[in-house]
């Protein structure tokens, strides 16, 4: 049983696991690409619906967590070895290990290594030398970032729920669960931030006692009862009245039209009649944004079948009448198509972005200018065990290590003079 657990642990914590899993998903992706143009969407749907694929995907964050444990443990052990807190030197922690029958008098060697730019620590039977900063903490931050990223993707993929609702000024805040109050105002304006050009604020007043008011912005998205409120597109909710000689009773409707930005065309159909109206929001001559100012002027085209009957302009609250036809826009309001997103993976992905940026910004200078190099010499009964590792500048470090070993060997032959405390030059 112990052997089985050890094997499972070895697989889960293996550095080979992520490329194997990513390769596996790549094969599935390529396979889907033969049959569908929406490859990624299909792959996501497959993963969501298949326990096997979900389980394979879950191995990625699991592997990151296991790697954190393994690498933190190795880092701790190396630190303890440097301070002589370990009973022996483990070859698996180092790049190179050599046992030699050599002098265990390290005093001279310490001076020599110190002159080569290494910091040293000497105890009764150990000489430790090191320089630079270890990349291990950075790597652990990197692995934590990858853990957050893969966990976020996994959770997001399997549990994300989205409800799309049009939110209209003065109308109910159509939250997916329960009463969300009234959308009092939608304010669209210029932003002074470095990333956002425009700000959108939806002010919602809660109904009932208390009457608290809440504001929902663009980014970072606000939350409503645990769901992110994610504004997607802007549009106009247009209330219009229409009558025609063959439609004397008239027709009125509040229609939601994707008319933003100005110039974009949308059409609405007069149900049960051959009439159709195409509309465009006119861009004012002064260059202002009608969605910001609220001064909305519409370019319309009235069609009967494929024939254009009339075309012209109607402002908000205005009317057009000719030859028995009457078209009026008594009211129009700002509207935002909004997604209510339930997703606990989003925060993890944000955290991953922060951790990965930290890891990269720390890794690069350390790797380039302060790479860690260590060598340890420990006297064991009848021999000296020497270990070395380098995270950068390996060849130069190996040269220093080999010369240190040569010196130890040389001192072995001069043991009597050492024991007498005479410096051999």
């Amino acid at each position: 049983m112990k052997r089985l657990f050890r094997a499972i642990w070895k697989i889960l914590s293996s550095r080979a696991l992520p490329p194997v899993i990513i390769g596996f998903f790549l094969v599935v992706y390529i396979g889907i690409a033969f049959f569908s143009d929406e490859t990624l969407t299909v792959l996501m749907a497959f993963t969501r619906g298949s326990f096997f694929l979900a389980a394979v995907l879950a191995l990625l964050p699991l592997n990151c967590a296991c790697r954190i444990v393994v690498e933190a443990d190795r880092y701790r052990k190396r630190r303890r070895a440097l301070s002589d807190a370990l009973s022996g030197l483990q070859p698996s922690l180092y790049d190179e290990t050599v046992d030699l029958t050599a002098s265990s008098a390290f005093a001279d060697l310490e001076v020599r290594i110190g002159k080569a730019g290494y910091r040293t620590r000497r105890s009764d039977n150990l000489l430790a030398a090191w320089r630079g900063v270890s990349l291990s903490p950075t790597r652990i931050v990197f692995l934590a970032g990858m853990f957050c990223l893969f966990s976020g993707i996994f959770i997001s993929l399997l549990s994300r729920t989205v409800y799309r609702r049009p939110l209209i000024e003065g109308e109910a805040f159509q939250a997916p669960f329960g009463n969300g109050g009234i959308v009092e105002r939608i304010v669209f304006g210029k932003s002074s931030g470095p990333i956002l050009a425009r700000d959108l604020v939806m002010e919602v007043a809660e109904t009932g006692s208390g009457g608290r008011s809440e504001k929902f912005g663009v980014y970072p998205p606000s939350r409503f009862r645990g769901m992110f409120v994610y504004p997607r597109y802007l549009g106009i909710a247009l209330f219009y009245r229409f009558s025609a000689p063959d439609l004397p009773g008239g027709y009125e409707k509040l229609d939601v039209l994707p008319l933003y930005p100005p110039g974009k065309e949308a059409s609405t159909v007069i149900t049960g009649s051959p009439y159709r109206i195409t509309l465009t929001l006119v861009k004012p001559d002064d260059g202002s944004d009608p969605y910001i100012t609220g001064r909305m002027d519409f370019l319309f085209k009235l069609l009967k079948g494929k024939d254009v009957l009339f075309s012209g302009n109607i402002a908000r609250g205005g009317e057009f009448a000719r030859n028995g036809y009457r078209l009026a826009f008594p009211d129009c309001r700002r509207m935002v198509i909004t997604d209510f997103v339930g997703d606990y993976g989003v925060q993890l992905i944000w955290a991953a972005a922060v951790l990965l940026v930290i890891a990269l910004s720390a890794w690069l200078p350390v790797r380039l200018f302060f790479s860690r190099r260590e060598m340890l010499f420990r006297s064991e009964p009848d021999m000296v065990r020497a270990c070395s590792r380098a995270e950068g500048g390996a060849r130069k470090h190996a040269g220093a290590f080999h010369e240190a070993l040569d010196l130890l060997e040389m001192k072995k032959n001069e043991r009597p003079s050492y024991e007498d405390g005479v410096a051999a030059k």
């Binding site: 969407t41 698996s92 994610y230 080999h402």
Partner: protein, 448 residues
């Protein structure tokens, strides 16, 4: 003339055999015979399949074999780089297998079959069956002779040039891809670029949605410009280049990063330095073959991007719509819509321009389509015999499937066919175009 056309491919084939021989040095004879047999089998296989099956079947099989080889190369390249950097990497200790008779025979025969079939596909069609048979036989014989010649050349190469198993695979696959890149229907680079563009677009879109990034109307244009690079026209090409070259570069890096032999136990400095110097020199010579692979891949990408084929591609004629927004294209007049040729048109509405074409398919039906597909950037289509080609991804689309949606087919446009001509709704045409090509619209191209 045929020999000149095939000369580059035949040289590549010789280099393939040479690399395999150097990579499996203990079994040169097996490699020579296996490669010759494999090549002849590949040529014969194409001849038989062309006679028994529709042309797309053998081409599909060869393309699949190339795709699988490229994916296999990727796998081995990743494993190689892991092995050279991660000391305790337990997987794929497969180097021992390479220098065995089994691998020499199978490797040489498989490479021969694929190379032989690719080169045979380049042979022109002959009206007389006997001449065709003779041409295929001559090609098979040439392949076998070149395999023998490679053995003689290999002896002349400096012994310092050695080949690692991963470098062997990289060079063979790269040279096979070079051979195939001269045939549009076997080329992998262009479809790869197209898939990469679509893949990157989808990934970026999904990622932005997953972290709830707002739509572009909220973002500063300068910032959106940077994000827009990922949705841009060239991302497919450069992404394709990265995927194309990475395995060969990974193999080279794996060789470069291979740990030097441990010399800590040697107490003579001179001996240590000599051992290390020898190891470094061997390592440097091992980089020659991955460099050959990189050159072959670059040549393949170049051939794929600049194919030497010409297509019928008329200059788009400007059309206008009636006040009701209807476009009428007469069947006869300046152009004859029923002549089976591609007829391109340009429709302007406001600041938008739409390029579309009308074509009569081989079954006698008119079809109206955008000069763009739903996947690639809208570089448009040209017409060749029996097919149209997407200029961006070089996909060939049989004429009888034009008018059907999906894949790289041109996006069909709803229209009405009457006695006087073809009637198209201008608004739906513009909407269709905008929806299809969005920000990557590039219409002011005229005749190519």
């Amino acid at each position: 003339m045929v020999a000149v056309t095939l000369s580059l491919q035949l040289i590549a084939w010789t280099v393939i055999v040479l690399v395999i021989m150097r990579g499996i040095p203990g079994h040169r004879r097996a490699v020579t015979i296996g490669a010759g047999i494999g090549f002849a089998l590949g040529v014969a296989g194409v001849l038989v399949m062309y006679r028994l099956l529709p042309g797309r079947v053998p081409l599909g099989m060869i393309k699949t074999a190339l795709g699988v080889s490229f994916f296999f190369l990727w796998t081995i390249a990743v494993a190689a780089i892991y092995r050279s950097n991660v000391r305790d990497f337990p997987l794929l200790r497969w180097g021992w297998f390479v220098d065995t008779p089994l691998s020499a025979w199978t490797g040489a025969i498989m490479a021969g079959i694929v190379a032989g079939s690719i080169i045979a596909c380049r042979l022109p069609g002959f009206d007389i069956a006997a001449i065709q048979l003779l041409a295929f036989a001559a090609l098979a014989l040439a392949g076998a002779l070149l395999a023998s010649a490679a053995r003689a050349v290999e002896r002349l190469l400096p012994s310092l040039i050695t080949v690692t198993p991963s470098a062997l695979l990289a060079a063979v696959v790269a040279l096979l891809l070079f051979c195939s890149s001269s045939l549009l229907r076997l080329d992998l680079f262009s479809p790869l670029s197209m898939k990469v563009m679509k893949g990157i677009h989808d990934f970026v879109h999904q990622f932005m949605e997953s972290i709830l990034i707002p739509d572009h109307i909220f973002i500063r244009p300068a910032i959106w410009g940077y994000i827009g690079i990922l949705f841009g026209k060239e991302v497919g090409f450069w992404g394709g280049m990265v995927i194309w070259f990475t395995p060969a570069i990974l193999v080279a890096l794996a060789i470069y990063c291979e740990p030097l032999p441990s010399v800590a136990h040697i107490r003579q400095g001179a001996q240590r330095r000599r051992l290390l110097a020898d190891a470094i020199r061997t390592q440097r010579y091992r980089l020659v073959i991955p460099a050959v692979a990189v050159v072959a891949l670059a040549a393949a990408a170049y051939q794929s991007s600049f194919p030497s084929v010409e297509y019928w591609d008329p200059k788009p004629l400007a059309v206008t719509a009636t006040p009701a927004g209807e476009i009428l294209i007469p069947k006869k007049g300046e152009v004859d819509l029923e002549d089976g040729k591609l007829h391109k048109y340009l429709y302007k509405r406001g600041d938008k321009e739409v390029r579309f074409f009308v074509l009569m398919t081989p079954d006698g039906k008119l079809t109206v389509d955008l000069d763009a597909c739903a996947i690639c950037k809208p570089d448009g289509y040209g017409q060749a015999e029996g097919t149209i080609i997407c200029y961006y991804c070089k996909t060939l689309i049989p004429l009888d499937t034009v008018g059907k949606p999906g894949g790289c087919n041109p996006v069909p446009v709803p229209f009405t066919e009457r006695a006087d001509g073809v009637h198209i709704d201008g608004m739906s045409l513009v909407n269709n175009w905008t929806r299809t090509v969005q920000a990557t619209t590039r219409v002011k191209e005229g005749n190519k």
